[in-house]
């Protein structure tokens, strides 16, 4: 999978200064870096570590611990399937199975052509609409296995 990015030193510096170089804000800093590049490039982590005077091993540890972070480039469209208990009870598992089957990837992975990244999330707070699939922030409720293919096709 290509599309790896070379982060700009200035950009990283400006992100660090947003938090006054406070090492306690590492998680927030990494979120801003990921918002910028759609994933966490290796060089960015090195620069963050150097800028905060935090060992790279700790930055990497934090980046690999939290689900919000991706160390690999992500797809153009982010699919989030809600697996909250209410959605589960209404059949979210089947919806996820169908998406996995249709795209030939598992949750947490990105399609070869970098079109989709599939994630699961626990409760988006729209339980009345369950099962829910959120794509690029757009909610599709009362999903069934049968509605998966047309939904996916609407995203290039």
């Amino acid at each position: 999978m290509k599309t790896k990015v070379k982060p700009d030193k200035q950009k990283i510096k400006s992100i660090l200064s947003r938090y006054q170089g406070d090492p306690g804000m590492l998680v927030a800093i990494l979120q801003d870096v990921q918002a910028e590049y759609n994933y966490l490039p290796k060089e960015a982590l090195v620069l963050v570590g150097e800028g905060l005077d935090v060992p790279l091993s700790q930055v990497y540890s934090v980046a690999s611990f939290f689900k919000a972070f991706s160390l690999k480039p992500r797809g153009r469209h982010l699919i989030n399937v809600c697996l909250g208990t209410a959605c589960h009870v209404r059949g979210a598992g089947k919806v996820l199975d169908e998406i996995q089957r249709e795209l030939n990837i598992k949750s947490g992975e990105t399609t070869e052509d970098l079109r989709y990244t599939l994630e699961t999330v626990n409760c988006v707070g729209a339980c009345a609409l369950g099962p829910i699939v959120v794509i690029d922030g757009s909610y599709s409720g009362q999903m069934t296995g049968g509605r998966v293919k047309p939904l996916l096709e609407s995203y290039k």
Binding site: P55, L56, S57, Q58, Y60, S61, S64, F65, F66
Partner: protein, 239 residues
């Protein structure tokens, strides 16, 4: 000074000591796999759990972390403690069935076999290696990465770490021999469960033996400010 009771024995201890420290001083055995005096206690293996009774309430606590109090009653071998220990050992044995030290400990705790599907890990995730690298050596070359069942000890990106100085403290402190280090000729090989590194060893100007990784010497020179020539000779050849 405080007075506490461990397994019916009245013992004196200093404030600030942990139950484990007091037990060890008095030759009372409590298994403690993730514990080492060189680093701060971590409380991850849970094998050191003992039963305490305090103000009429009984609970299990990690003896490596719990500080002694006056009047504390401790039981290191009650049924509850032993049952927990055995199940923990079964879980550990299922994770590392082919590790010699784990097998020895299991037998010592009376666990012959495990009820679970067997994996084949060597690392017990006690984090002693990570802790010694951070707290004692001070370079934090390795860390625990990922979360939960995917947790591993690794170098960043599983690649050779620029911070590692090849000192081998991690291998030395590992209680189950999961980290291998070997000096062969002019090279030191360090092999962690998920990655490995090689280090060029410094050659003694006098006797010609290879004695310490050059990287480690660079680190010492940087930290102490001593002139590099100090380390031209190995310790045996130095005056």
């Amino acid at each position: 000074m405080v007075t506490l009771t461990i397994d019916g024995r009245k013992l004196k201890a200093e404030e600030g000591q942990t139950i484990l420290q007091v037990a060890q001083e008095n030759n009372i055995y409590i298994p403690a796999l993730c514990h080492n005096e060189a680093v701060k206690p971590y409380g991850a293996c849970r094998l050191c759990l003992v039963e305490i009774t305090r103000r009429g309430r009984t609970k299990l606590v990690a003896s490596c972390l719990y500080e002694v109090e006056d009047g504390l009653e401790v039981k290191t071998g009650s049924d509850r403690v032993v049952n927990n220990r055995k199940m923990l050992m079964e879980l550990l044995l299922a994770r590392c069935p082919n590790n010699k030290e784990v097998q020895v400990l299991a037998r010592k705790l009376g666990v012959e076999e495990t009820s679970f599907q067997q994996d084949d890990e060597q690392c017990i995730l006690c984090a002693l290696c990570v802790r010694v690298c951070q707290e004692v050596v001070g370079v934090s070359a390795i860390s625990l990465v990922n979360r939960g069942v995917n947790r591993q000890m690794a170098t960043p990106y599983y690649e050779p770490s620029t911070a590692c100085i090849g000192c081998g403290a991690c291998a030395y402190i590992c209680p189950v021999g999961a980290i291998k280090f070997e000096d062969v000729g002019d090279t030191r090989y360090i092999k962690w469960p998920s990655s490995q590194m090689e280090f060029k060893l410094k050659k003694c100007k006098t006797c010609g033996s290879y004695w310490m990784p050059e990287r480690q010497l660079e680190y010492i020179i940087e930290k102490t400010g001593l002139p590099p020539e100090t380390f031209d000779n190995c310790p045996d050849c130095r005056d």
